[in-house]
């Protein structure tokens, strides 16, 4: 039997980040005005799409009598096809994401990633999509409860040094959002994208980077260690390495963008020094485009 008191304290400590994260995500999502989210084609839905002349095979009850009465032919009133999509989100919970080059001014990458992911989830939820979290046994569902579950799952931190996208639970023809720094091994990413493309899943790849990772402002004799401590690299003159590091980083970004282009995904690189709102707007538009495509 565990003592209930520490359990409660722990539980409260665990729960503490949830409301703020939710609140901030809601707040962030509130800044995005929901526009048309139709499928741009006739189908099942509530919104009017078009009138068309009755064709053979149409059920008689589909005829819009009011419209038909104004002319000689009969018209069928079509509604826009509205369908709920399933969006599966993967947020990198590895140790590498818990990095912030300036703890005072900049949030950790993980925090920004969670915030964006949850805000997108809130938005999608409002738009009537189903949102799930890959890797956490959270299949896509709708509703506020699902958002709360998402928030709870997102604050959990993983142990790995670098995360790999998990494609388990990806529904065919579904949508996906991968948020990570993509600094680790590229092979799992490549595999994930390939398998997603195989299943007809399209989505968005959001790379979240710290400004220090972009600028490499280090000099002097330094031992660089990964956040988990599994990797280390020692140099005598860190400043000498900058050019090579930046070249590698650019290559990494290029590769990601290329993979995305091949798989029909969209790629964006976001820095924690930038406003979260711009990233959210981009994500929202990206989902729109993904829907439309």
């Amino acid at each position: 039997m565990t003592d209930p008191a520490p359990l409660r304290a722990r539980a409260e400590a665990e729960a503490a980040p949830l409301p703020p994260l939710l609140a901030r995500a809601e707040h962030l999502a509130g800044t995005v005005l929901l526009g048309e989210h139709g499928r741009r084609r006739a189908g099942m839905g509530d919104d009017f799409w078009q009138y068309r002349p009755v064709q053979p095979g149409d059920a008689r009850r589909d005829i819009d009598w009011r419209r038909s009465a104004r002319s000689d032919t009969e018209f069928v009133r079509q509604r826009e096809w509205q369908i709920a999509q399933s969006v599966l989100i993967w947020v990198d919970d590895a140790a590498a994401m818990r990095f912030s080059s300036d703890a005072q001014a900049l949030p950790e990458k993980a925090e920004r990633a969670r915030l964006l992911a949850l805000a997108v989830a809130v938005l999608l939820n409002r738009a009537g999509e189903r949102v799930g979290l890959s890797g956490h046994d959270l299949p896509p569902r709708r509703g506020e409860v699902q958002i709360a579950r998402l928030a709870q799952a997102l604050v959990q931190a993983g142990d790995a040094d670098y995360g790999a996208p998990r494609t388990a639970g990806l529904l065919p023809q579904g949508r996906a959002l991968f948020v990570s720094d993509f600094l680790g091994d590229m092979a799992p990413v490549r595999d994930a994208l390939t398998s997603a493309a195989d299943r007809g899943v399209r989505g968005v790849l959001l790379q979240v980077l710290d400004p220090a990772e972009e600028a490499f402002p280090y000099r002097g004799r330094t031992i660089f260690e990964s956040m988990g401590g599994t990797l280390a690299h020692e140099t005598l003159k860190a400043s000498e390495l900058r050019a090579q590091y930046l070249a590698r980083l650019a290559a990494r970004k290029d590769e990601l963008a290329r993979l995305c282009a091949v798989a029909g995904w969209q790629y964006h690189c976001h820095h924690t020094s930038d406003s979260a709102q711009t990233a959210l707007l981009w994500l929202y538009r990206a989902f729109d485009a993904a829907e439309a495509a």
Binding site: I223, M227, T235, R248
Partner: protein
């Protein structure tokens, strides 16, 4: 342990130097510590390689730097000492006896001796050795004291101008006592009798070391006159290589101020010990010479005093007969000229022409009658101290001069005609001279038997005659008579100055008699016989360093001692004043023996230079620290972290850069003062006084603003050294005892300011406790402050001074005190009241200074809201006094700004109207 000039106090520490190679290896292996940094991007870094040129080993020069630092620290801690003293044991632990020759010759490098003595005493003090100092010029039994005690008296120790005499040496040897001691003898390098005996006595007491300066002793012998130029001879002790010296002749200029009048280069030839030269100077200049000194030699031996020996008396020869052309040997003045030429300056000319030259002696050879003007002139000259020497002759004998009445310029009355003895037409033999009486100036002179007198003028018997005779013939008739007139005297030789009446002018006695009469001046010391019974008073004496000092209360010296007695504490070299002349007693003369001191070989002789013991440990440790600091910088540079440090240096340099603001500010201040009327006060450095002055001027400015059309800006404090003064119409100068005296430049600008119409109001602020004058500290300070200022004569403000009516009609000028008078420039003495006008027309300009002590600023002082800062008096009377103070201020500023405008008589009717007259 010593290594060359280096010694170590803790030599064992040097063993640590062995560890240096080990340190080298250790330091080589350890690269600078890296920084650990968490960085997710490390995944991208994997596999990157550092540039090959960067090594993880410490660079060799950094290693060397550190090794040097450590080595310097080790050596520094080992206590290195440069020029360490020998710590010899044994006899040197006991007392120390320092023997000083302390003569004039030792003065030539007295500072070096004193420095050596000081270091010796310091060392003895560290070793707790008792020290005694024995000065041979003032021998006394040695008294052993603590070295620190002697050190404190060291500055008072000075060499004496006399050498230790054999008697002094003997006395010193006898006074030594029995105590054994190490002896250090500071010798002056001159041989003297008694040295060997004293050395033997000293060696009985302990080991003797002699310290002797290698600098050569130079001395100057007294000047001699030769053929109209001054013969100067310098001597040196050791015949060395050729050497050039310069002898400077000092004397007084016509105003009586001591100056360097001439100089004479002398050169010692190689191997010679004397150098001579002749200095030719005009007689006028020569007569003012007081002393000669070898340049660069500060000791009494390099100075020789001139005394009277260079002064040649000026003798005017006036003869009654000028018409005996060609008969030179019969000329009345021929023998006089011959007798006087070597030792005196002879003036020729008419009596009235030579009188203004103020000769010492006027000789009238057979001149009977003087005109009224001549007589009066000569009389006046004699009364001032001139010596009128008259010789008889046919004219005098034939004239009526001094026949009935004693003529003023004759010592006796004369009988008509004179007499002739021993001639072809007379009885008797020519008369010879009788021995000179005791009270005669000629007493003691030998009378050659061949001196005879064949003719003379005869003195009338007279009650006073006997006192006036100073030489007589064997039959008792007067030959030379003398009369004192005022400070001077008239001497009459009853014979002619040529050989017509007597053979006296042909004899040596004639010259000696002239000398005794001080007609001619003696070159050398007076004869012993002449000195007998005289007392010579020292006027100025030389000290050991060759400086002349007033003799003060030194007792007089009996004449015979001046000849031959050795110099000593009671016979100091210097100027002595005797009955009729000044005599110079010099340290060195031609007979003084100058020979180098010879020391036996067993006595070690050392120089005075003693390289100071210099501990080097501190320097080495400081050097180690500096190296370590350099190491920090180098390590920072190596690990690429020097950038912030460099930035800090730049920031520090920017902070340390001079601020260019003050100059700008100064210009603004002057500009502001030039744009508006600004009253100014002199900054005294006393914050309280300055604040009061500022507040007072502010109050006065406010008052002026309200009451008059003068609208001053805020007052300014003026620093006399830096600020421009010309832009301020009035300077208020509160006097404090402690304020600094302005510099020469500041005074120059102040005088310029006063001359161009500025005014200074001096306020001693002490009228409540002091009257005017130097009684109070402020008054004294005021005198010192104002002395260099160009201030005209002052007077208390007269009733009709323009200051009393420039704006208000005032008669008193109170401030916070209403004590005493206020002084302004005095009115010209010829200022007069014009008929019907109540005022005199006084100065036509502004008085440059107003001096008082009423503390006006305190009465004027106002804060920003117009409240008085200081109480004045009590009640209504006090307020009235403050009001009067303001009125005085207004009048003063009006006076400064309008000058003599109110003095203009145009305003008189209106003023009269207001005065109710």
């Amino acid at each position: 342990m010593t290594l060359g000039p280096l010694g170590f106090t803790a030599p064992w520490l040097l063993l640590a130097l062995v560890a240096l190679p080990l340190l080298w290896l250790l330091l080589r292996a350890i690269p600078p510590a890296p920084v650990r940094r968490r960085f997710p991007g490390v995944a991208l870094l994997l596999g990157l390689r550092d540039d090959d040129s960067v090594t993880d080993r410490t660079p060799w020069w950094l290693l060397l730097l550190r090794m040097l630092a450590v080595a310097a620290m080790i050596v520094g801690l080992a206590g290195p000492v440069l020029n360490p003293r020998e710590q010899a044991a044994g006899a040197r632990d006991g007392p120390l006896l320092v023997v000083l020759d302390s003569s004039w010759a030792a003065a030539r490098d007295w500072p070096a001796q004193r420095a050596l003595l000081d270091s010796m005493l310091a060392e003895a003090g560290r070793q707790d050795r008792p020290v005694a100092i024995l000065r041979l010029t003032a021998p006394a039994p040695p008294v052993y004291r603590a070295a620190g005690d002697w050190r404190s008296r060291l500055t008072g120790l000075a060499p004496d101008p006399w050498p230790p005499s054999p008697a002094m040496m003997t006395e010193a040897a006898q006074a030594l006592g029995d105590r054994a001691a190490e002896v250090r003898w500071f010798s002056d390098g001159l041989a003297r009798p008694g040295r060997a005996e004293l050395l033997a006595a000293l060696e009985d007491r302990g080991p003797v070391t002699v310290h002797e300066s290698p600098a050569p002793v130079l001395a100057l012998t007294p000047p001699a006159m030769a053929e109209g130029s001054i013969e100067l001879t310098a001597r040196r002790v050791l015949p060395g290589g050729p050497r050039e010296i310069t002898v400077a002749a000092h004397g007084r200029d016509p105003e009586g101020i001591p100056r360097r009048l001439a100089e004479l280069p002398l050169s010692f030839a190689e191997g010679e010990t004397t150098a001579s030269g002749a200095l030719s100077l005009p007689a006028e200049l020569r007569a003012r010479l007081t002393r000669f000194q070898i340049e660069g030699q500060d000791h009494a031996g390099a100075v020789t005093l001139a005394g009277d020996s260079l002064k040649r008396r000026e003798v005017a020869l006036i003869a009654g007969r000028e018409d005996r052309e060609g008969l030179e040997l019969l000329a009345p003045t021929h023998y006089l000229e011959k007798a006087l030429a070597p030792t005196a300056e002879i003036l020729d000319g008419q009596l009235m022409d030579v009188l203004p030259a103020n000769p010492d002696v006027i000789v009238l050879a057979d001149v009977a009658q003087l005109s009224g003007g001549e007589q009066a002139g000569v009389m006046e000259w004699v009364e001032k101290g001139g010596l009128l020497l008259r010789f008889a002759g046919p004219r005098l004998a034939a004239s009526d001069v001094s026949r009935e009445e004693e003529a003023p310029l004759m010592p006796v009355r004369l009988r008509a005609g004179g007499r002739t003895v021993g001639g072809a037409m007379s009885w008797g033999e020519p008369k010879s001279l009788a021995p000179f009486p005791e009270d005669s100036p000629f007493h003691g002179l030998d009378i050659p038997p061949d001196v005879t007198v064949s003719a003379q003028v005869m003195a009338q018997p007279d009650p006073a005659l006997a006192d006036r005779v100073i030489a007589q013939l064997s039959d008792g008739t007067p030959l030379v008579t003398r009369k004192a007139i005022g400070q001077g005297q008239v001497v009459l030789f009853h014979v002619t100055a040529n050989a017509e009446w007597s053979s006296l002018p042909l004899s040596g006695l004639f010259v000696q008699m002239l000398e005794r009469l001080a007609v001619s001046s003696a070159v050398a010391l007076p004869e012993m016989g002449e000195l007998e019974g005289t007392t010579w008073q020292p006027v100025q004496v030389l000290d050991g360093m060759g400086r002349l000092q007033e003799a003060g209360t030194l007792p007089g010296v009996p004449g015979p001692r001046l000849r031959g007695d050795p110099l000593g504490p009671d016979l100091r070299p210097g100027l002595y004043e005797g009955p009729d002349r000044r005599l110079a007693l010099n340290v060195v003369d031609g007979d003084t023996s100058l020979a180098p001191a010879a020391w036996p070989a067993r006595v070690p002789v050392e120089g005075l230079a003693r390289p100071p013991e210099t501990p080097l440990g501190g320097w080495l440790l400081a050097g180690a620290l500096a190296l370590l600091t350099a190491d920090i910088l180098a390590a920072l540079a190596l690990s690429g972290r020097l950038l912030p440090a460099r930035a800090a240096v730049v920031v520090l340099a920017a902070l340390a850069a001079p601020d260019p603001a003050p100059a700008q500010q100064d210009g603004d201040k002057a500009l502001r003062a030039a744009t508006e009327v600004v009253l100014a006060h002199v900054l005294t450095g006393n914050a309280e006084v300055d604040d009061t002055a500022r507040a007072g001027l502010r109050g006065l400015s406010e008052t002026l603003f309200f009451r008059t059309s003068v609208e001053p800006a805020d007052p300014a404090g003026v620093d006399l050294e830096t600020d421009e003064l010309a832009v301020y119409p009035l300077l208020y100068w509160p006097v404090t005892p402690e304020q600094p005296i302005p510099s020469e430049q500041a005074y120059a600008r102040l005088n310029e300011y006063l001359r161009t119409g500025g005014m200074i109001l001096f306020d001693t602020r002490d009228a409540d406790i002091a009257g005017f004058g130097a009684a109070s500290p402020n008054g004294k300070k005021l005198q010192r402050l104002a002395r260099p200022l160009d201030i005209p004569p002052l007077e208390p403000v007269p009733d009709d001074h323009v200051l009393t009516r420039t704006f208000y009609l005032l008669q008193t000028f109170p401030g916070r005190h209403s004590g005493r008078q206020v002084w302004v420039e005095a009115a010209p003495p010829d200022a007069e009241k014009i008929e019907g006008m109540p005022f005199r027309d006084l100065n036509d300009n502004v008085t440059p200074v107003v001096i008082g002590g009423n503390d006006w600023a305190a009465a004027w002082a106002m804060d920003r809201r117009g409240n008085a800062l200081f109480p004045v008096g009590r009640g209504f009377a006090g307020e009235r006094q403050r009001e009067l103070a303001y009125r005085f201020g207004v009048n003063l500023v009006m006076h400064v700004l309008t000058g003599n405008y109110k003095s203009d008589q145009v305003h008189v009717p209106a003023l009269l109207d207001r005065l109710g007259q």
